[in-house]
Amino acid sequence: GDSVTQTEGLVTLTEGLPVMLNCTYQSTYSPFLFWYVQHLNEAPKLLLKSFTDNKRPEHQGFHATLHKSSSSFHLQKSSAQLSDSALYYCALSPMATGGNNKLTFGQGTVLSVIP
């Protein structure tokens, strides 16, 4: 079945340093990949979604590139801000034709940005 792996449970960074949160996946199909973000006491919300045409999605300074060869969709940002502190989930949708396209979520990575 499909699976998503986020190896880091907690990433602590100093403000201004680059961010990279890891996400790898396994899927029988050519899936879409997503990043959801959840700030403290808020609902999770969509941050980024992969494109079918290899464009790199970007939002709020974050970007991610889908590498099918390595089955990865790492989240990156050039300079961390205090407001980036949150829980980040990587997720996969198999996009199987006529199949069940439920999202599969990774374990989540807490990003803590310190002054």
Partner: protein, 113 residues
């Protein structure tokens, strides 16, 4: 824009008790979901519903029941609360099944004494 409202925000129950969590959405979305959020385990799907009166089991449905009597509402029942049920339960909706953008509520935190 729309909103997903989950009630109650905090739910305290006794071991063995039957407990119900409620969710309302005003997006007019077809599909609704219940996820359980545990630290370090990600979001795990309990039940989902693609339309009124439809119910589909997720990966974690044992010990839970669900009900979708209206398009706008989706409730989840813990049939017999256990101490290891303590978690945050998140409701979500999407415009249709297979649509990957989920809109989440802020959650119900369940504590079992």
């Amino acid at each position: 824009g729309g909103i997903i409202t989950q009630t109650p925000k905090f739910l305290i129950g006794q071991e063995g008790q039957k407990l119900t969590l409620k969710c309302q959405q005003n997006f007019n979305h077809d599909t609704m979901y219940w996820y359980r959020q545990d630290s370090g385990k990600g979001l795990r799907l309990i039940y989902y519903s693609i339309t009124e009166n439809d119910l589909q089991k997720g990966d974690l449905s044992e010990g839970y029941d669900a009900s979708r009597e209206k398009k706008s509402s989706f409730s989840l029942t813990v049939t017999s609360a256990q101490k290891n049920e303590m978690a945050v339960f998140l409701c979500a909706s999407s415009i249709y099944r297979g649509a990957e953008t989920l809109y989440f509520g802020s959650g119900t935190r369940l504590t079992v004494l």
